[in-house]
Symmetry: C2
Subunit: 124 residues, 2 copies
DNA sequence: CTTCTAATTTGACACAGGTCTAGGCAAGGG
DNA sequence: CCCTTGCCTAGACCTGTGTCAAATTAGAAG
C-alpha cells in the first residue's frame, strides 16, 4: 500500500548550496533531477498549484479531478508521481483522500536554482 | 541558423507570483513545464552547474564534453535543449563555441516554486 | 587547396512516460 | 447483504527522449 518514498534530498542540508556555488556532482545531479522531472509536466504543475493554494492547505482528489479534462486514473497517476518524489503527501479520511504540499522539498529546489550566487545573478 | 527560441516566460513579470498565490492556468502551466523539463535531467543539471560556476561566466564546449562519459553529439544535444528553453545562450569565437547562463529565466523558475507564500511556507 | 580539429546535425535504436480502458479495493447507505 | 461512490492499480498503446555512430559544417593552419 503506502509505497511512499522518503524525500530524496533532505531539505535541512539546503541552506546555501545553489547551482552555481560549485559544480554539481554526478550523484547530486542524479538525486535532484527526478525532483524537477516530477514538476516538469503541465498537469503536475497545475496539480501542485491547486493543492498549494487550496484553503486549509489540503485538497480532496475529487476537486483535483474536476479541474482537468483527464480521466481519474490519469490524475491518480500524476499524484503518485508527485508523492513518490516527496513533493506531496496524502491521507485517507473516510471516503475521500486528501493531498497536501511538502514545502521543504519545494524550497530546496527553489534554492538550488535561485539567484543566490554571483554567477547566477549575472555578475560573474 | 540560429534557431534560438526566445525565453518563453519573460522574467520581468515574475516579481511575486509563486506557485501558491493562485492556481496556475492551463496555458501558464504549458509554458512553464518545458522550462522545468529542460533541467529535469542529470546531465543537463550538471551542464548548467558547470557553466554557472565557470570563471568568467562562460564555458567552452570542449571543457563540458571532457566532464562527462558521453559522446560530443550527446552533450551537444543537451546544450541545444537548454538553449531552446532559454536557459543558456552561446556564441562562436574562432574554433570554439562558448556557452553562458541566462540568469533571469532561472530566477523566474526559482521564484515560482519558492517559499514566497503562506501556503508553501507551511502556515496555510 | 588540403588537412586537421571543434562542434553540430542526421538517422536509428531502445527505453521512459502520459493517457486510456478495464478491473479491484475501501467506505458508506439501502 | 448488496449496491453505489471514490480512488487506485494493471495492462496496453503511442509518443517523446537519451544515446550513439556516421556524416556535415565552420574555422584555423600548412
Amino acid at each position: 500500500m503506502s509505497k511512499q518514498v522518503l524525500p530524496i534530498v533532505d531539505a535541512d542540508a539546503a541552506c546555501c548550496a545553489p547551482l552555481a556555488c560549485e559544480p554539481l556532482s554526478e550523484s547530486e545531479a542524479a538525486e535532484l533531477a527526478p525532483l524537477f522531472k516530477a514538476i516538469a509536466d503541465p498537469v503536475r504543475l497545475r496539480l501542485l498549484s491547486l493543492i498549494a493554494c487550496h484553503e486549509g492547505g489540503e485538497t480532496c482528489v475529487c476537486d483535483l479531478t474536476a479541474a482537468f479534462d483527464l480521466t481519474p486514473p490519469t490524475i491518480s497517476h500524476h499524484l503518485k508521481v508527485l508523492k513518490q518524489a516527496g513533493l506531496i503527501d496524502s491521507e485517507r479520511r473516510g471516503t475521500w483522500v486528501y493531498y497536501w504540499i511538502n514545502p521543504a522539498v519545494l524550497a530546496r529546489m527553489s534554492a538550488l536554482i535561485g539567484p543566490a550566487s554571483p554567477a547566477l545573478a549575472g555578475t560573474g
